[in-house]
Amino acid sequence: MKKWKVLSPLIVLALWQLLAGLGLLGKSTPTPVEVAQGIYQLTVTGFPPGYRLPGHIAASLGRVLLGFGMATLFAVPLGILMGWSPAFDNALDPLVEVVRPVPPLAWLPLALTWFGLGMFSSAFLIFLGAFFPIVLNTVSGVKSVDPYLVEAARTLGAGEATVLARVLAPAALPSIITGMRIGVGIGWMTVIAAEMVGVKSGYGLGYMILTARDVARFDYVVAGMVVIGVIGFLMDRLIKAAEKRVLRWR
C-alpha cells in the first residue's frame, strides 16, 4: 500500500505532462518540466530579474514567523487566562467570537494606514489569522485539564501562579500545539494573499506570483505554487516533529 504514496503523484505528474504537452489544458498551462525549469531559473536568475527564489522564500517566511510568533506570544497566555478564569472568559469570549470571523485580509486597508507598506502590515494580517486558532485551542485545552491535577498541586503547596504555569500550561500543551499548527497553516496562506494585495517590496512569494501573471509567465506562477505547497508541508512536518519531542510523555 505504501508504494501508492510515491506512485500516485508520479501518475498525476505523467498525466499532467501528457495533457499539457498536447496543449489540452489551455495554452497558458505549463508542463511539469517547464515548472521545474521555472524553479531553476527563479533560483538562479530570479524574477523580477535579480530577485531570486531564496529571497522570496525568506521574505514570506520572515513575515509569517513575525506574525505567528507575536500571535503565539499573545494568544497562549490569553487562552490560559480565559480557560482558567470564568470572569476573563465571559469578558473576552464575545469579543473573540465577533472578531474571529472577519477574514484577515479585510483588515488590510486599516493595516496599511497603521503600519504602512511592508513587513509589518503583512505580519499583522498573519497575526490575526494565527491568533484565533491558538486562543481557542488553548482555552479548550485548559478547560479540559483534569481538576484533580489542580487540586493535587494545591495540596502540595501550589498557589495560583504555580497552578497556571506548572499545571494548566503544561497540561494544555497538546492543545496549544494543535492550535499553533493550525495557526501557522493559516498564517502561511494569509501571507501569500497579503503579498498579492498589499506588499510591493519586491520580495515575497505572493508578490512574485502576481508579477509573473502580469507578464504571463505561468511557469513562474505554478513554480511559486509548488514552492508554497512544499514549504507549507515542511512547516507542518517540523511542528509535528517538535510536538513528538515535546510531548513524549504521552
Binding site: 483534569d146 484533580y148 491535577l149 487540586e151 493535587a152 498541586a153 494545591r154 495540596t155 502540595l156 503547596g157 501550589a158 504555580t162 506548572r166 499545571v167 503544561p170 497540561a171 500543551l173 510531548l247 513524549r248 510523555w249 504521552r250
Partner: protein, 262 residues
C-alpha cells in the same frame, strides 16, 4: 507521634451543605461531625456509597470550606489546602508530563528545597514505596498500583503532618488492591505518619484501621466509632476480624435499608 494528647486533626461540629444547581435546594452532606484523629494512628472512615465521605476528606484537606464548624490541624484552624495535609486521590492525579522523579519533586521545589536536595529526597521516598529505578519513567508507563505508590511518595515527600487518602485503591484490581493494603500498613509502620483513610469497603477498613469511624447515609453523621485492636499484619480469616467486619456490615446494611425506605 507527639505524646501531648492533642489530636493531630480535629473536626468540631462540622457541617457541609451544597446548593443544588438545578433545583436551587440546599443539600446537606455532612451533619455536625465531631472527629478527633489521634497522631500517628491509622484512622479509617467507612460509610455507604454517596454518603459524603469524599466531601468529608476534602473538607479536611481544605479543598472545600465547611458550611459551619471548624477543622483544626495541630490546634490551628484550617483555611484552604496546604502541604501540611497531604492528599492521595483515587484517580492518582499524577502530572503526566513529569517523570516519576519530577512528580515527587514538585512539592519539594515549592517548599524552596534546592534541586539537588529535592532529588535526593525524592529518591529516598521512591525507595520507601518500592519504586527505586523508576525515576525516569512517565506515569503512562506505570501500572495502577505503581501510579498510586508514586502519588503516595509525592505526598509523603513534603512531609505532611496528616496523610488524607480518598479511596486510593478503589480503581485497582482485587489482587493489586490487597497488595497495596499490605504495603500501606507496612509503610505506615515504618514512617509513623498519621493517616486518615476513607473507604466504602468494610473489609478494607477492618484490615487497615486502628480507629474506625462509621458514617450514616447522607447527610453523614457518625453512627459507629470503634477501636480495632487486632495486631498487624491482620489475617482476614481470623474470627475476630470476621466478627468486627460483620458488626460494621450490619450497621451499613441497616443504613442502606433505611435509604431504600425513604
Amino acid at each position: 507521634m507527639n505524646g501531648n494528647g492533642r489530636p493531630a486533626l480535629e473536626l468540631r461540629s462540622l457541617s457541609k451543605s451544597f446548593k443544588e444547581k438545578k433545583t436551587g435546594r440546599t443539600l446537606e452532606v455532612l451533619s455536625g461531625l465531631d472527629i478527633e484523629v489521634r497522631p500517628g494512628r491509622l484512622t479509617c472512615i467507612v460509610g455507604p456509597s454517596g454518603c459524603g465521605k469524599t466531601t468529608l476528606l476534602r473538607v479536611m484537606g481544605g479543598l472545600e470550606a465547611p458550611t459551619s464548624g471548624e477543622v483544626f490541624l495541630g490546634g490551628k484552624p484550617v483555611r484552604g489546602p496546604g502541604p501540611d495535609r497531604g492528599m492521595v486521590f483515587q484517580e492518582y492525579a499524577l502530572f503526566p508530563w513529569r517523570t516519576v522523579l519530577r512528580n515527587v519533586t514538585f512539592g519539594l521545589a515549592l517548599k524552596g528545597i534546592p534541586a539537588r536536595e529535592a532529588r535526593e529526597r525524592a529518591e529516598v521516598y521512591l525507595g520507601t514505596v518500592g519504586l527505586s529505578g523508576c525515576e525516569d519513567l512517565y506515569p503512562r508507563e506505570l501500572s495502577g498500583g505503581m501510579k498510586q505508590r508514586v502519588a503516595i511518595a509525592r505526598t509523603l515527600a513534603v512531609e505532611p503532618s496528616v496523610l488524607l487518602m480518598d479511596e486510593p485503591f478503589a480503581s485497582l484490581d482485587a489482587q493489586t488492591r490487597n497488595g497495596m493494603q499490605e504495603f500501606l500498613v507496612d509503610l505506615w509502620m515504618r514512617t509513623g505518619t498519621t493517616i486518615v483513610f476513607v473507604t466504602h469497603s468494610v473489609d478494607e477498613a477492618v484490615f487497615l484501621g486502628q480507629d474506625i469511624i462509621g458514617l450514616s447515609r447522607r447527610p453523614a453523621r457518625i453512627v459507629e466509632r470503634l477501636e480495632n485492636t487486632l495486631g498487624y499484619p491482620r489475617t482476614r480469616t481470623d474470627p475476630e476480624f470476621t466478627g468486627l467486619r460483620a458488626r460494621i456490615l450490619e450497621y451499613l446494611v441497616k443504613e442502606m435499608a433505611m435509604e431504600r425506605k425513604i
